[in-house]
């Protein structure tokens, strides 16, 4: 083929893409700007000496280890997206690239605080080997095979399901950060948790806008969003983290019924504004499932808050920036 013919194969500068109209859905979130302004290490913002003067109590350190492990599970979550149809969505893939980068540095900041409490404070949490974990691990091993087939048959609508999960995870994590801030009552930790929540507010905004835009343009997307939020999903327990640690974490953050109500409201309320995800209440339902599951496992658990704890209960003022805020 002649040299000239290579450029001649382009139409309006494009080799593969259609020139008539865009094929990538663009919500209001500016992914280019997000990737450009990625937040790197948070260590320079930390005053670790403050933890020498006033160490965190052991239960809070354990909560922090759990939060670190949640952030460190990012690659497992990325895997479940990139093996699916969603990998074709270049804009979502670009977001996930930077999302994983920012979450790495959030985990690193938690690790720095843990390390400030001695060499063992940041040690990995021992894995759990209950039958539930073993079943989950087996399912996790085969999920790329299954997901790569059925999601590609389902097509683009499946993206809304995955972004809806991201939305719920980020909203729930921000709610947990708020509860932990209050629980710990430590000014330096508060400063870090608020900073993390600020970074996460941007993540939540992407997932929220992406989910909402997709639901608005495709009725199948709404069904996927609801299904992904309903089945085998716990916003605060990514696959790979133990059930026992998740229960302990939630019990420590919200030991009373009133606090659980508040946690569920903060976590699930953001999803109520979009028709496709309204009423889904993923965190409350996940905790209920955990409670039922715990009857077959030896670990102590968090009893679910009553139905009255549903998200109709308005949260008190949120100290973290809203998802509508910009960086």
């Amino acid at each position: 083929m002649s040299q000239q013919s290579y450029l001649a194969r382009h139409r309006q500068g494009r080799l593969y893409g259609p020139v008539e109209q865009p094929i990538v859905l663009r919500s209001g979130f500016d992914v280019k700007d997000f990737t450009y302004r990625a937040q790197g290490s948070l260590r320079p913002e930390l005053d670790l000496a403050a933890f020498d003067r006033a160490p965190l109590d052991p239960a809070v350190l354990e909560d922090l280890r759990y939060l670190r492990d949640m952030e460190r599970s990012t690659m497992g979550q990325v895997r479940s997206v990139v093996v699916s149809y969603t990998n074709k969505e270049s804009r979502v893939a670009a977001f996930l690239t930077t999302w994983a980068y920012e979450r790495h540095w959030i985990a690193d900041a938690y690790q720095a605080v843990l390390d400030a409490h001695g060499p063992h404070a940041g040690a990995p949490q021992p894995p759990e080997h209950s039958w539930v974990e073993r079943v989950e691990t087996a399912l996790d091993n085969i999920s790329p095979m299954v997901d790569s087939v059925w999601t590609n048959f389902s097509g683009e609508a499946v993206v809304a399901g995955q972004t809806a999960r991201g939305w719920s995870q980020e909203a729930s994590t921000r709610a947990a950060l708020r509860m932990l801030e209050r629980r710990a009552g430590h000014p330096e930790l508060s400063s870090l948790l608020r900073r993390v929540a600020e970074v996460k507010a941007t993540h939540e905004r992407f997932f929220a806008e992406e989910t909402t835009a997709r639901i608005r343009t495709d009725t199948r997307a709404e069904r996927f969003a609801r299904a992904y939020l309903t089945f085998a999903f716990h916003p605060l327990r990514p696959v790979g983290l133990s059930h026992a640690h998740a229960r302990r974490f939630l019990r420590d953050l919200a030991p009373t019924v009133a606090q659980r109500r508040e946690l569920f409201a903060l976590a699930d309320e953001p999803l109520q504004a979009t028709p496709g995800t309204a009423g889904s209440e993923p965190l409350r339902r996940a905790v209920e499932r955990e409670w039922r599951l715990s009857r077959y496992a030896p670990h102590q658990t968090l009893p679910p808050a009553s139905r009255s704890a549903r998200v109709a209960t308005a949260p008190t003022a949120h100290p973290f920036p809203s998802t509508g805020g910009s960086r």
């Binding site: 460190r72 497992g76 990139v82 093996v83 990998n87 074709k88 690239t97 930077t98 590609n152």
Partner: protein, 271 residues
């Protein structure tokens, strides 16, 4: 020397081109053959998320060092794609989200079912499969460094050469990770050595094969690795692979580029 993952993460950054005079391409544009190579490189860089996906279906993502590397590597490669897209954009070639999605759609089921194949192999072979992935990754990254340096040297464009050297520098850090991991894992297992040797000998093809059309792969190999300088580079790449435990004597680069280099010789001989 052991690869320091913490140091790698701390120093990981998106490749910078804001200090380069990109307008130079308006007055001193690249020839079509080079643009074709750059487009290939750009597509492959954006496609890194797919290579990462193949790695993620192995148990390797549960290893904290591997997970950290993949996070930084994927981001650096994404920015290589962005930088090359900027250069292509200066020549009127559009590489944006729509173009990347269209390319991935065009790959169809063969690409969509790769996680299925990789996952089946991973579950059948077990942890030794990670060693094969690491050696494969080292081969890909070694060839990427060589390709960028060859391109910079062949083109001698004042702006492009600087940009490509910066990209090559980051790629050489990726080589260090993959080669260290491959060496460690291969040393630990004879089975991993046999499996990796078999996989590289039978299936390795230049990075981008299977994603790009065969004629594009052929063009890039001919353009960058044809001629005496290219042959020398190919020998050097094979020597790198041969130094991995159990890989002595392998000539995967020579074999994979043979048709393109022969075509280069044919083109060079006057009729």
């Amino acid at each position: 020397m052991a690869f320091n993952i913490d140091k790698f993460a701390e120093t990981s950054a998106r490749v910078n081109w804001s200090d380069l005079d990109m307008d130079e391409f308006l007055t001193n544009p690249l020839p079509e053959d080079s643009l074709r190579c750059l487009r290939y490189m750009c597509d492959v860089e954006y496609h890194t998320v797919c290579y990462m996906r193949d790695m993620l279906v192995t148990p390797s993502h549960q290893d904290q060092d591997v997970s950290t590397f993949m996070t930084m590597w994927n981001r650096e490669e994404y920015w290589h794609g962005e930088a090359l897209a900027e250069v292509l954009g200066m020549h009127g070639i559009v590489v944006d989200y729509d173009e990347i999605k269209a390319k991935r759609m065009k790959l169809g089921w063969s690409e969509s079912l790769k996680p299925l194949k990789q996952s089946l192999l991973s579950n059948m072979v077990g942890v030794d499969f990670i060693a094969t992935h690491m050696a494969w990754g080292a081969a890909n990254e070694w060839s990427a460094v060589a390709a960028y340096r060859r391109m910079a040297s062949l083109e001698k464009h004042p702006v492009l050469a600087v940009l490509l050297q910066r990209i090559a520098h980051q790629e050489s850090r990726h080589v260090a990770f993959y080669a260290t991991q491959a060496r460690r894992r291969l040393e630990a297992s004879r089975k991993a050595q046999r499996l990796t040797r078999f996989a590289l000998r039978k299936f390795w093809a230049p990075v981008g094969s299977g994603v790009m059309d065969d004629r594009e792969v052929g063009h890039v190999m001919r353009h960058l690795f044809g001629g005496e300088g290219g042959a020398h580079e190919i020998d050097r790449l094979d020597a790198n692979i041969a130094r991995l435990p159990g890989m002595a004597g392998l000539q995967i680069f020579r074999r994979a580029t043979a048709p393109a280099r022969e075509a280069h010789v044919r083109d060079a001989v006057p009729a």
